[in-house]
Symmetry: C2
Subunit: 232 residues, 2 copies
DNA sequence: TTCGTTCTAAATCTTTGGATTGATAAAATA
DNA sequence: TATTTTATCAATCCAAAGATTTAGAACGAA
């Protein structure tokens, strides 16, 4: 499959120039990749990317000068179809998670065999997202852990289930920041009717005012909104 | 490696009894697995799991009677160390994502080769999380897409940055559903002072009332809270 | 020192929000 | 059929929220 594709253009970024040289040789040895650039600076890398539009960027994310993750984020914001593979010395679940979250298409450890790196480039170059098995495991453990608390919350009695469909409509509009007049206008009913509904909602959700009602709704999976504990 | 481990105990759940028989034979042929049960009902499965504590559960998630995802969630809530592999007819990204989110340790398509299923069981049995390469790709695309909007949002001007630290404290208490009296009491300042702060907050966030202020705060990464567009 | 900002506070006033009671009509359900 | 639930609306009434103005004290920067 690889031999039929045009050569993929690869850019290398690693603050350690020895590593950089090593990786460059390694990738260059593969017939199907053109190394269009290699730099020790993330800032230079971003400019090179704008200029050469590489297909693949191998980005070291353990750099002192500029955070590699931040660099990835900036590159992603350019909206090019450059696909980034994070290179890291650590198999830390949080690092892996954050890298994938901001759009890295792969994550490879520096300690991994060079064949592994080439394989990752092959896969990502083919449009896939590639995480080595061991790192993928880490990722999913972290991912599942970050949603565990949320599941527990939805386990306890959800007072939202007691709302009638009309009350849900009203609450929906409340969660959009509407006041009585706004809701009345949007539902084509009188303001007093809205007040009645809102009061019933307060009773059912056991809250005292609209802000608390809105907070309850958001924290208990109202509509298709969900709060997650995942942070960047 | 496999031959040194004790036999893993496997439970099979599929509403199609033909499939069920087929899978049972397939798994039974592997020397290292004991099929401790096979049922067409998710509800029966949950009882069997409580009774036999299998190591692995193969759960069909395309069942009419009871939603397989819901069943997985219930099993996860039992807090056992049973690891669940989702069996599905669809490689839908959303389905895969939801299955992994609620704790499935693997996701295998029914159309995949039987060797693939066995491999998945092997990997999950070994404590890993296993997603076939193609599905893993799907998952990550969905995952990255679900965080993309969020990144864009944090990119545009965040009015929260204009708040003073005192105003942030007040807003924090607002997002907890406090009224003026509550905030005044907690900050040991007068109610009128709180009103002043709140009014300044409204000006800076360009909103009309506390509910809108709270919504703005939650939607723009106030504190360590982050809203995600990901839903179960 | 002077200027700007922040935090504090009060006074005043208008609007909105929330509680309560009561009532009608349609629709679902027993 | 009888009963309950739901959705609708009105009229109060009080409390809370919001807008506006003014002002003193503390603090840091120009």
């Amino acid at each position: 499959m690889r031999e039929f594709k045009r050569k993929s253009r690869v850019l290398l970024v690693d603050d350690n120039s020895d590593h950089l040289r090593g990786i460059k040789e390694l990738v260059s040895l593969e017939g199907c990749y053109d190394v269009v650039g290699a730099t020790t600076s993330a800032n230079v890398a971003i400019n090179l990317i704008k200029k050469y539009r590489p297909d693949i960027v191998l980005m070291d994310i353990n750099m002192p000068e500029k955070d590699g993750l931040q660099a990835i984020q900036e590159i992603e914001k350019l909206g090019l179809d450059t696909r980034i593979i994070a290179l890291s010395g650590y198999d830390d679940a949080d690092l892996i998670f954050r890298a994938m979250k901001i759009g890295a298409k792969g994550y490879v450890l520096k300690t991994m065999a060079s064949a592994q790196l080439i394989y990752a480039i092959d896969e990502v170059s083919a449009g896939k997202v590639y995480l080595p098995s061991a790192l993928s495991s880490r990722f999913f453990e972290y991912f599942q852990r970050s949603f565990k608390d949320e599941a527990v919350v939805s386990d306890e009695e959800n007072l939202l289930t007691y709302l009638t469909s009309r009350e849900e409509e009203v609450l929906e509009l409340l969660t959009q920041g509407n006041n009585y007049k706004g809701i009345a206008g949007k539902l084509f009913i009188s303001e007093t009717t809205v007040k009645t509904h809102v009061n019933n909602i307060f009773q059912k959700l056991q809250v005292n005012d609209r802000t608390q009602a809105v907070l309850y709704a958001l924290n208990n999976g109202f509509g298709n909104r969900k709060r997650s504990k995942v942070a960047v």
